[in-house]
């Protein structure tokens, strides 16, 4: 199949970017979206042009590195699918696709379709941890976890930190990501000691990084390749409210200074 691609090209953080049109010819429907870009890039390299820069690592939907906005949809049109797991059979011969990087103040474009998601790492560093005793490995069933809590925690832990939620949100909000991280630890007994501090610190960091505010559109959950539901956002709001009202002292608690 043949496609026309309008791709955002930007030399570096400070350069002005623009859209450049490319033709992708002889694409197999069994290729992944990134393999299609590989083919285009090989053509560019043969012509002596600069290949299109895009982020990727595992190419099996688990690392969260990849991500391109395809015709306005982060990770493309297929629900619950990362860009690397999206196949070209999701498109038709002759389709015209516009490829853009995640757009958010907190995610500056580094080059072409690659953005800097360091803001997510800094949010994790302020609260994405638990306190665990060191020494010998604990006994297998020393800490009992109720099955429903374990299930919910695993649902939240599915978040791969790709940032599609921010890219999809009309407000550029990172609430779904932060909510998933807070729920992931907050459902487990091991996560309780830092629960209040975690909510306060991670939300504060999220605001400092310049993400927008949630107005409950629900676009994030529609774009999320791991189907993180916005119920977790409500849960984060509840954790935050409770912590702000009942343990304000945790606000000044030690942060590891990310």
């Amino acid at each position: 199949m043949n496609l026309t691609l309008h791709i955002w090209r930007q030399k570096n953080r400070h350069a002005e970017g623009r859209f450049v049109t490319y033709e992708a010819r002889g694409i197999s429907p069994d290729m992944s979206f990134l393999e299609m870009l590989d083919v285009v890039n090989e053509g560019l390299i043969l012509k002596g042009e600069e290949p299109i820069a895009f982020d990727h690592d595992c190419r099996e939907g688990i690392c969260g590195q990849c991500g391109v906005v395809v015709n306005g949809s982060p990770h493309g049109p297929r629900p619950a699918t990362t860009t690397c797991q999206l196949h070209m059979r999701s498109f038709k011969d002759g389709d015209v696709l516009t490829l853009e990087p995640w757009r958010a103040n907190a995610f500056p474009v580094i080059k072409d379709l690659i953005v800097d998601r360091g803001a997510f790492d800094r949010i994790i560093a302020t609260g994405g941890f638990i306190t665990a005793p060191t020494g010998n490995a604990p006994d297998g069933n020393a800490i009992l976890v109720p099955k429903p809590a374990a299930d919910r925690s695993m649902d939240a832990a599915a978040c791969i930190g790709c940032g599609a939620c921010v890219a999809a949100c009309p407000n550029g909000s990172a609430m779904l990501f932060v909510a998933a991280k807070i729920a992931h630890l907050g459902y487990l007994p091991q996560g309780q000691p830092e629960r209040d501090r975690r909510a306060l610190a991670m939300v504060a960091r999220m605001d400092e990084e310049g993400f927008g505010a949630c107005t409950n559109h629900g676009e994030c959950e529609a774009a999320c390749p791991k189907e993180i539901p916005i119920e977790f956002i409500a849960r984060m709001n509840r954790d935050y409210l409770k912590a702000a009202l009942f343990s304000p002292a945790e606000r000044s608690g030690p942060s590891d200074g990310a």
Partner: protein
Amino acid sequence: MVGNLTVFKGAVAINAYGAALRKFPAVLWGVRFGLLLSVGLHIWAYLALSVKSWSARPKGYRVTSYKEASLASRTMRWTGPILAAFIIFHLLHLTTGTVHPDFKEGDVYHNLVAGLSVMPVAVFYLVAMACLALHVFHGIWSLFQSLGFSQPRFDSFARRLATLFTIIVVGGFVLIPLAVLAGILKLQ
């Protein structure tokens, strides 16, 4: 809304309701002041939220496609100001009578029916009520979400409550201009 609906019981009932509201000026002004304060806070939150969202995405997409965002959620930013304009008009129209063609102090029934018999005015009322329906529906649902009651996006208690509340309240309001247009409420 319930008070407004006394219009269907006739002129005497709604005029009595109007008089009852004015019986204790201190209470009336207390409530008015409270409402004014809420409106002020609401507008402040609107501005703060808008500025935050715009600065979070200084550069937008060339192509956008919405999947879950509803008409109600996407128009909040527009239905809000329309409603603010409507409230000002409504006060000038039926409270102070400034923009009313034939205002009779204290005769609520007459003012209401005469005022809403003017076609463009009635249409504005209906448009404003459509905006109110969208705004209130998303507002109520958001209230639950923002205050932390975990709810699935669709088919949840909060969605049903938002739908029910919107239908009852907006439905009640909208009956009045519709009844005037249909000739059910007439000048006596």
